[in-house]
Amino acid sequence: MYEYVLELKGITKIFPGVKALDQVHFQLKPGEIHALMGENGAGKSTFIKVITGVHKAEEGEMFLDGAKVDFKGPKDAQAAGIAAIYQHVTAYPHLTVTENIFMGHEKVKGGRIQWKDMHEEANALLRELNADFTATEEMGALSVAQQQMVEIAKALSMKARIIIMDEPTAALTKSESEELYRITEKLRDEGAAIIFISHRFEDMYRLATKVTVFRDSKYIGSYDVNGITNENLITAMVGREINDLFPKPVVKLGEEVLKIEDLSRTGYFKNVSFSVRKGEILGLTGLVGAGRTEVCETIFGIEKKSGGRIVLNGQEVAIDNPQDAMKLGIGYLPEDRQHQGLILDWGIGRNITLPVISQLSRHGWLDDKRERRFAKELAERVDTKAVTLFDLASSLSGGNQQKVVVAKLLASDLKVIILDEPTKGVDVGAKASIYEIMGELAKQGYAIIMVSSEMPEILGMSDRIVVMCDGRVTGELSRDEATQEMILVKAMAKSHQKSEE
């Protein structure tokens, strides 16, 4: 047996105008879980596509079990036993699990598809993975975690020996992630070599024995996970030291700005109460599906409440739509920046000014100069990596897109800012600067509500933490008393509470 099941040497991939990969190396041992890390845009995705035969590298060599290979396309890679599972599952939502598993390599006998065999084999694979659904269910009806399981089953059905997972935990809850860890380890124990891409450090510590870091399309190094620290890794990924990932300033809190009392929306959440003060960052956390986003969207007027009160500066207010909320000084950074936050094929300038275009106009007439001056100032304030105001939002990386959405939020004259998963899918460098902006805003006297599932950010940035579970507030913790364990206990209080009732 060769030392490496997969080895890449000096891989260079050039796209018009950019070197997406520059002399990159990678070595994967059999039965190893190997983490691949780097900021967005570091070249991880391109690298995966070279391995899976989607892209062809201009330079460099690739070896499978010591033998040089040259993939002409994805089919070759599949035939060689390489399978990739992507963050956004590329499935056929209206087809069954079986059809998804066998798509492209159906079992055919004499021109007829062998449904019975396929269902049986699919179910056997699913059992092996401990899945709680069957092969005849429709793909679209499954959760993201379940769909990923289908993708893994598909990889197994193709007898994959090298499995690449591209940010598989990004959309999973804590317990779903645990399940995925278990499956991944099982695959390893059965002899597969796994490349695991993730922004989450805990994924790497939990699973990987080796970690390779890319930065700016270049190979930075491979390290043993045993003995490496967050600081080492961040330095490797960002190229500079980030001394304090959570630059939470000490701000003297002012009066209570926003208070919600017994807010309810039938079917989503019930009797939710909390308040936020001037200069305060209130962390709102809980498991995915706890109703956090729904509460915030109701405050912002996207959805209608079925009961309860919203009190702003001591006065009850009626909010029927986002216009009302914005007029009152409540802004919302939506969770899904690509669909809810940005117009991707517009320049960043127009994106930033969209919510305030009336204020920048003269009696309804656009004032280009004023608009551009305003947009320029905000774009520079959030330090987005665009060159001009006319750079399309789609051309920016996730972190820089998010900065544009933040700029768009700051365009309005706000008192309360609600940030829904502000660092989701954002790399370490951009994360740090988003936290920095948050700290700045708190200093300037904004009241901030930060919805987040990421424990370090909740613990690192919040003055106070409100935990939700199953549509209810299950706990409120101060910055000093909060620990990861306490939050988790409250976030999973559901079963506990039910038994009390």
């Binding site: 939506p334 969209l354 009336s358 106009s361 551009r372 105001l389």
Partner: protein
């Protein structure tokens, strides 16, 4: 953390290449070619009166194309405008001939009916935003036409006063039709509002990403309601000119106008995907299709074959943005570029 503040450029660099690679130039070329062609078929064509006659031959349809541009920019579609033309025209005629309303009032009835038809489309679509506008307006299209047929059955209704016919036939100083002057005013107003006002910017925003527009505090459904109502109103304007031209109305008038209006706008470079295009393109396209039809009519070109020409143009217009010139003109051009 050492950080150098990035400077963001706020001025757009002018590029000749970008300037010339615009759909409107191609349209303008077709427009000129059609005029040259027409001038060969008729020696009177390239005179003031010749051109004005040509213009009058299609301009009444163009009124409904103006708000249709807004509809398409928003990423919506309205295929009920042809029926709205018929229903508003029929109710105008009935108000005057059967209910004994003065013609002035009957004309207002016409405009109100049109606006109401558009408003109904708008209300359904904004109260149930998940419905497809294509299907809803297909439904109302059949409904409106059905009402028009029920009211007038298979008859014509006419004998309007002289001043009403003059709305279409009247000319300033005996030369320039009132209709043309009114059209120019409307077209400029529609173009300016689309490109120079916050309302226009919001239409583009809705067409590009209506969800993000909602989160940005744009009253998406209110704006859609306004634009659908406006479209109904302008269908009625078309009905007024069309009825004035023909001197009478029937329940089957305005058939196919929806497709003609949509063709004019799409050929003008305003995509049905929403969020794209310029109004000037739509205006050039209205005249291009109008003059093409007129010219083909001059040489007694069969009207079925006319549909082939216009259909072909439309397909080119839809394909143009997706054409890969490098592939078509070979690798040589790609290397040179």
């Amino acid at each position: 953390m050492a950080k150098t503040k990035r400077i963001i450029v706020a001025e757009q660099a002018f590029s000749w290449k970008k300037f010339f690679v615009q759909w409107e130039w191609f349209l303008l070329l077709i427009f000129i070619a059609i005029n040259v062609m027409n001038s060969f078929t008729s020696e009177y064509y390239l005179s003031t009166s010749g051109l004005l006659t040509a213009t009058s031959s299609f301009l009444e349809k163009a009124f409904v194309a103006l708000p249709m541009a807004y509809i398409l920019v928003m990423g919506d579609i309205d295929i009920s405008v042809g029926s709205t033309v018929a229903l508003s025209s029929v109710l105008m005629a009935v108000s005057y001939n059967n209910l004994g309303l003065p013609m002035g009032l009957a004309l207002i009835v016409c405009l109100l009916v049109g606006a109401l038809c558009g408003f109904i489309n708008g209300i359904i679509l904004t109260k149930f935003p998940e419905l497809a506008p294509m299907i809803v307006t297909l439904g109302t299209s059949i409904l409106y036409r059905g009402i028009a047929v029920m009211i007038l059955e298979d008859q014509a209704s006419g004998s309007f006063p002289m001043w009403f016919s003059n709305i279409y036939w009247g000319k300033i100083g005996g030369v320039v039709p009132y209709m043309l002057v009114f059209f120019i005013i409307c077209a400029v107003a529609f173009g300016v509002v689309l490109h120079k006002t916050t309302f226009g910017r919001r239409l583009f925003a809705i067409g590009s990403n209506s969800l993000a527009s909602k989160y940005a505090g744009i009253p998406v459904q209110k704006i859609r309601l306004i634009v659908f109502t406006l479209t109904g109103l302008f269908a009625a304007v078309t009905a007024v000119f069309l009825t004035a031209r023909m001197g009478s109305t029937r329940p089957n008038i305005g058939e196919g106008y929806e497709l003609e209006a949509i063709s004019m706008i799409v050929l003008g470079g305003i995509s049905t995907d929403g969020g794209k295009g310029r109004f000037i393109g739509a205006i050039i396209s209205i005249f291009t299709i109008g003059f093409l039809r007129y010219g083909l009519g001059l040489i007694n070109f069969p009207s079925q074959a006319m549909m082939i020409v216009i259909g072909g143009l439309l397909i080119i217009a839809v394909m143009a943005p997706n054409l890969n010139f490098k592939k078509i003109f070979g690798k040589k051009a790609a290397k040179a570029a």
